[in-house]
Symmetry: D2
Subunit: 240 residues, 4 copies
């Protein structure tokens, strides 16, 4: 049973200053060197907040953030790579053997003893079929067709700050699927530490804008219970 | 056991004329109406071929093509959605029940009686676990963690012609995974029928450009055997 | 003196049905053929409105629209090509002679007799310098450095419906520059005729969402006077 | 008369290690921490070269580079912002006064005394018209319609390494317009200093791949004379 792990591998140095300088340049007659000299931290924070609140988000693209993610399922990664304004490198099931695959257990299953027993037993059986097929000469890239969505993967991904804000809007929402919501919550914590003004209001629209467009549904708010998760209606994000 | 099916749902009307007109406009003093009047089919074909051969591909973006795809695995769809200059709508495993899921059998497995027996038996067992977990109250979006990569999905996707050419370069290559290669081959057939000059040379670099950059590997050429599929080296596309 | 002209060159056939079908597929167990059969016009309209109002915009990407635009300035085209989720083919000043260039007169200038006299006289002088430099053997691509922002250009551009909605949000706003605002207004009229449910609420946030984020500024509303156009503060879009 | 200036404002720390690690992760069973530990500089260089030579370019997207550019014309910036996989912040002519604008003189003009006299005189006259119109109450955003393509601008732009390679392929070519070619040459020098293996073969296809697709034209090679610059045929890039 796997644990989600996410680290901030790297980011644009001094990301908020990079954003503030680019924004200031649009409206100033000063040269680039001068602009950099004029910006102290208080002014950077003030400018970044103003951009964010007015929705002038293009300068945020000058700051990018790379994450190392492991212990997540391929159910999650299939959703994650739907974000197109981002870059991904993912561990290949075509080239790396899954002879001892790890897996993610959704919390609704880990809380249900009978379901958990079925699930864990299932994972063991699937491992056996995969290994047997490889022994029969089936290529890894075909044997993997038997592997479950739960099977873990690892990725490196890079987002700019504007695309990350959109990611958090969709994936921190309590309507998002629980595993990717937890990943998004952890990523948000990591970037808030290095770009607090950019991300201080990041999250679902009920947090960032004080409103919700998912009018047909109730939810428990940001981080609240997933009580409507089985609802047949529409939801945020493609949710494949 | 599922069969791949792909249909061309719609496309830009008269796609090659749209491309040729846009290209001609860049280098002409004539108005848009005049340009359209001047372009007969022979001239359209000549211009499109010239753009393609010189690598002036931006006018190709004015033609787009929408496909309805079904009977493909989620192993395939995870690769497909990595193409970022494209639009996707995919059947959701969060919202649609998989109580009677269909599945794709890779050809290396269908040709191996013992592997096939294991595989088909496995699919039946997985179906049982999924159904049992749903009966125990596990939400569909969590029960699906047990479902295999082989499980079928359906999608609508839209690509412009330039992005399609890149798709065919990567996915028609004999180094591509066999299921997505077959999909790419079928999609190429569909668009060749409506935009022959754009797509007549589409395919892997060995076909479109007479060269291969995958120097470390041998292959059987376009459509040839996947003899190197199990090779641990690098390959085209992300191949997740 | 030039007149803006914009025509809808082509678009995805039955664009709202394409959008509705893709949206329906995400939440349905039915096959693609069935889904198409089930969708009558009333249902298409209902689905499209629901997507739009809930902000589930990705299915809108399956519909694209190509425009032929002429009689616009290069001041406008420099702003237009900043929209990155779109495709552009533009008349080249490197390759096409501007020996008899046409130009756009901003309305604030055409309403001011003294400014208009200066402006028209200036255009004539610039034409003379350009022609003289070409006669002296200066390549067109360098002689054009003397040409004004007012100089007209023509373009073909293709946007999908989602990107168009964003374009209208930014460029129909009374804070947008007047020439591109007029273009956006005309483009909106053209697409409303073929995809009314998609575009019926398109426009600046005060129209589409009943709110404005440009809190520091007053304006006359959608289509109202540009009374704040000279304001030194920030504004929507990059406005270069 | 203005001088092009470009500085590297910031970049992903240790960009080649970021790229190499992401590439390695796709084909490895090791964890992210392990992968980072295993990569010494020699291995990083070897991996980056291998990716580049085989055209497996997606890991290059994890490294991004921000440039501060000044002393360039709006003829150049109109071309530059056509690169869509990049982020731009540009000084606004709507909001910043051009009461003392600077300008770029193309080298073909500075080498021709008669053309230069015309050009410099023209710039002075245009400045006078602009100032007079502003004095007559014309808003800056409309008065600027009289300003020339030569008028300087400044920008901050951010590209990832993959998009930069494409930029260099198109814009270092001797068929590119001379001002943007000089900018591209200078940007290439800056990034080569921090990511030498990524960029050591960057440039037009005749340099990076030993071939040219612009078959109809002769040129002097990378950095050679622009002898065909006036040729009416097609060329690389949109060249607007």
């Amino acid at each position: 049973m796997s644990q989600l792990d996410v680290v901030l591998l790297g980011h644009t140095p001094d990301p908020e200053k990079a954003v503030a300088m680019a924004a200031r340049l649009c409206y100033s007659d000063a040269g680039i060197g001068e602009l950099l000299d004029q910006l102290d931290q208080a002014e950077v924070t003030r400018l970044v907040r103003s951009l964010r609140d007015m929705g002038h988000l293009s300068p945020l693209e000058h700051a990018s953030f790379s994450f190392g993610i492991s212990g997540v399922s391929r159910a999650l990664s299939h959703q994650l790579v739907r974000h197109r304004i981002a870059s991904f490198s993912q561990k290949s099931q075509r080239y790396v053997s899954e002879s001892r695959f790890d897996f993610v257990v959704p919390s609704s299953i880990s809380r249900n003893a009978e379901a958990l027993r079925l699930f864990i037993g299932g994972m063991r059986e699937i491992q056996g079929w995969y290994n047997a097929m490889v022994d029969l000469g089936i290529p890894k890239e075909d044997a993997r067709y038997v592997l479950p969505n739960a099977c873990t993967t690892q990725l490196v991904c890079t987002f700019n700050a504007r695309s990350l804000l959109n990611f958090f809007t969709l994936r921190c929402c309590s309507r998002a699927q629980s595993e990717i919501r937890e990943l998004a919550r952890r990523m948000l914590g990591l970037v808030k530490a290095v770009a607090p003004a950019v991300f201080e209001k990041a999250g679902p629209p009920c947090v960032s804008e004080g409103r919700c467009r998912e009018g047909r549904m109730s939810c428990g708010g940001f981080g609240g219970p997933l009580d409507g998760a089985d609802e047949p209606g529409m939801h945020n994000g493609p949710g494949s």
